[in-house]
């Protein structure tokens, strides 16, 4: 419509070519073609130098103030944050689109290559971190970050400050008696490293049609000639059922890194994608970021696995009974789109004993999950404390039973206590195991 208006104007004022159009290739003599000037990807082409314009020191992104702040003189550079949310552009599954996606980080960054776990972490140029945030190893090599991977187009900036993350971690470490006392001391020295982790989001619509034999049980009476009596029996009647359904999937989040426990990440991945902002290198100033190591095709495969299982469950829900056999379904995906984004996470990896533990903190919401070492001595002591009263009362009950009838009462009470003790012990044991079960 705009173009038409413009052309009408061209016809009237004989102004050609339009100001926002550039000459394009034409293979036929006598035909000139103009196309809209390509939108400059200023982020990818301009390499940004984060120097304070006032004192020349290094600037870093301030979570509190939402912009670049000089670490030396405090100069604050306002950054206009444009939230695009879930309306952030998505891409089709074409090689061409992937090729069109801007490449590189848009700023000179160092890459930390961990020779222990293989992780590659993009660092700020001035960052001299020597510990891998994923495995706590110091066997790391610094090198220039590769620019030839798909650059993230959107991210959610950090909302949780570093000192706030410390408080959350301390609260988290001290909210259970099962961890060793030294761990609380350790928490005071273990820094949570703010890092942008790579994620893929996927949209699609699944059109499914299914068929299955669905069973309904019914009770019937019959005469048993051998016994000469009427009896009751339950019979399952199987009927073929079929159905169709459309399942829209919006922003299925798949992690783009292999170096973080999927279980831990799932526990904290309640990110609000309505807070997505276009990628700017300034958001990464002073932070670490990891490029994806789960490529798009593998992430899409994982996403499809999630989508089809959800669709299968929805198909099962359509059936008129839970008894289902010979189930088959066809699922066609359409309108598949993807996005590559960065999400803020505080990562800590620390060793306790010989074991490496990971903990993650959602840099947007503050949700935390992680592995915590268990002080099994304490746990066994508590289990023993829970079981001993029941056992003792049981023994006393048996002894007193030989002399008086009250022994039955004492023994019975001991038995009840023992059962309660066992149940609570199992729960305690499970919880303790869950602390580092990742």
């Amino acid at each position: 419509m705009l173009l038409h208006l413009y052309l009408d104007e061209v016809f009237l004022v004989s102004q050609f070519p339009p100001p926002d159009f550039v000459l394009a290739d034409s293979s036929i003599h006598g035909i000139e073609i103009y196309k809209p000037a390509p939108v400059e990807d200023d982020i990818s082409t301009a390499v940004v130098d984060f120097k304070c314009p006032q004192c020349g020191a290094v600037t870093a992104y301030s979570v509190v103030e939402g912009g670049l702040k000089c670490t030396h003189c405090g100069f604050y550079e306002v950054d206009q944050e444009v939230v695009v949310g879930k309306g952030a552009q998505e891409y089709e599954f074409t090689l061409e689109t992937m090729g069109r996606a801007a490449h590189g980080w848009g700023e000179p960054r160092k890459q930390l290559a961990c020779t222990n776990c293989g992780a590659r972490i993009s660092l700020d140029a001035t960052d001299l971190t020597a510990i891998c945030p994923f495995c706590a190893s110091n066997k790391v090599i610094h090198q220039d970050a590769s620019q030839d991977i798909i650059r993230p187009r959107f991210l959610i900036p950090f909302r949780i400050e570093t000192h706030e993350s410390h408080r959350i971690v301390r609260d988290w470490l001290s909210n259970t008696w099962m961890v060793p006392k030294e761990l609380r001391k350790f928490a005071r020295i273990a820094d949570f490293i703010p890092i942008y982790l790579p994620f893929w989001t996927f949209d699609a619509t699944g059109s499914a049609n299914w068929q299955a034999e669905v069973g309904h049980t019914k009770t019937e009476r019959y005469y048993d000639h051998s016994d000469g009596a009427w009896k009751t029996r339950t019979k399952t009647v199987w009927n073929w059922e079929s159905g169709t359904l459309e399942m829209p999937f919006d922003d299925v989040l798949i992690q783009g890194t292999k170096h973080i426990s999927r279980l831990l990440l799932q526990r904290i991945n309640q990110f609000n994608l309505n807070n997505l902002v276009p990628y700017e290198p300034s958001y990464l100033a002073g932070f670490q970021a990891q490029a994806y190591d789960v490529p798009l095709d593998r992430a899409w495969k994982e996403s499809r696995r999630v989508m089809r299982e959800l669709t299968r469950e929805a198909c099962f829900d359509q059936a008129t009974s839970n008894l289902i056999r010979n189930f088959s379904m066809n699922l066609d995906f359409k309108d598949e789109m993807w996005r590559y984004i960065l999400l803020p996470v505080y990562v800590a990896s620390y060793t306790y004993g010989d074991k490496v533990y990971q903990a993650l903190l959602n840099g947007e919401s503050g949700a935390i999950s992680g592995q915590r070492p268990v002080d099994w001595k304490k746990v066994w002591f508590v289990v023993a404390a829970l079981l001993i009263p029941g056992i003792l009362l049981g023994i006393i009950g048996l002894i007193t039973l030989m002399f008086a009838g009250i022994g039955v009462l004492i023994g019975g009470f001991g038995f009840v206590l023992l059962i309660i003790g066992i149940v609570i012990s199992v729960l305690v044991f499970q919880k303790a195991q869950g602390l580092d079960d990742v």
Binding site: H4, Y6, L7, S27, P36, N330
Partner: protein, 378 residues
């Protein structure tokens, strides 16, 4: 090319042979005659020695000599291109045979032999215009691209998902504007008022096989002159030129599709010539001795014609049946009367009365058959 003397067909009504031969100069390389049909207003040029007895279009004989000024007004140069008769004779024979057979109560004149002997070769014209175009244009160019989609199948018995990758072609539309300075050659536009009707009846012609005009083709065929003036035909040519320009713009931009093409063209240096298209005509006379035309596309062989059964013959047949029925009825009545003296004759009389009634009713069948056939054909 030298201009020869032009003569007028012997069968035309009135003409001034001397002045006409002297002045009419079309440069076709043959002695020519030009006539106009007073019935259908089609105009024809033919070689003078071949003559023209009836209009090849409507088959009437109301032909008049065409005034030279009228000829010059319609055409000043020889045709540029022509399409030759590409259908083999055997195919045409088969088509004609198919047309003429299986008609109950067919008119006497509708025979394969008549249709065949009356076959006439006619060329009818399309205008060809060359024009230089200057324009500013805008359009949306469409570029094909492929996306990868997936189809999944789950079978509980195997417990596995089977994934099938599907490639789907989509179109990405992009805006373009531009300038065009091109000359387009031989843009076809109708030269006859009846062009659309002809196309509808015998199909279109593929001009890619056109050859340079040769005057020799006039020896066994007639050439119809345009009935649409160049000015009139121009309005129909502009969309064709726009389509050609749009296609070129698409090709220039290496696009796969184009839509919303708009332009503000200016046209210069128009040059008009003719393309001759091959057509067979033949006819048969119906009940009222009116010629019923049959047309055959000389390139594709597609045939058009209305087959009419003869109502006259049907009525005659019905009358014969009625007469037989009446005679039978009278004979049966006589037998009934005889049965008063000879009772067994009553049986024969009764059968005769019944049969005559049935026969009388069946007399309507030929008329109904012809009426139904003609209705279907129409």
């Amino acid at each position: 090319m030298m201009f020869d003397e032009v003569s007028i067909c012997e069968n035309t009504k009135s003409y001034d042979r001397a002045s006409y031969n002297k002045d009419l100069n079309l440069g076709w390389g043959k002695k020519l005659g030009a006539v106009v049909c007073e019935n259908c207003d089609w105009r024809f040029i033919h070689v003078s020695e071949k003559g023209l007895n009836a209009c090849p279009h409507c088959l009437r004989s109301d032909l008049s000599t065409l005034d030279k000024d009228e000829v010059y007004h319609l055409i000043t140069d020889p045709p540029e291109l022509f399409l030759s008769f590409a259908v083999d004779v055997e195919s045409i024979h088969q088509e004609i045979n198919k047309f003429a057979e299986d008609i109950r109560f067919a008119p006497k004149d509708l025979t394969f032999q008549n249709l065949h002997t009356r076959l006439t070769r006619v060329y009818f014209p399309n205008w060809l215009v060359d024009v230089e175009v200057n324009a500013v244009w805008e359009a949306e160019f469409g570029y094909d691209y492929q996306v990868v989609s997936h189809r999944e199948h789950f079978d509980q018995n195997s417990g596995r998902w089977k994934t099938q990758e599907i490639k789907e072609t989509r179109i990405r539309w992009e805006q373009r504007v531009g300038k065009l300075n091109r000359t387009y050659h031989n843009i076809r536009t109708p030269a006859l008022e009846e062009d659309a009707l002809l196309n509808q009846r015998i199909g279109t012609f593929e001009a890619g096989e056109a050859k340079q005009f040769e005057a020799e083709l006039m020896l066994d065929s007639y050439v119809s002159l345009p009935s649409r003036s160049k000015e009139d035909a121009w309005s129909a040519a502009v969309p064709s030129i726009q389509s050609a320009a749009s296609t070129e713009c698409r090709q220039a931009g290496a696009a796969d599709h184009i839509r919303q093409f708009r332009w503000n063209p200016s046209f210069d240096n128009q040059y008009w010539t003719l393309l001759l298209l091959p057509l067979y005509t033949t006819y048969y006379l119906d009940d009222d001795n009116v010629p019923q035309v049959m047309l055959v596309n000389g390139q594709s062989g597609r045939l058009y014609g209305i087959r009419k059964a003869s109502m006259k013959r049907a009525r005659q047949t019905s009358l014969v049946i009625v007469a037989v029925a009446v005679a039978l009825f009278l004979l049966s009545i006589a037998l009934v009367l005889v049965s008063l003296l000879l009772p067994p004759m009553l049986i024969f009389g009764g059968i005769g009365v019944f049969s005559s009634i049935v026969l009388g009713i069946s007399a309507v069948i030929p008329i109904v058959m012809v009426w139904q056939f003609n209705n279907q054909e129409n």
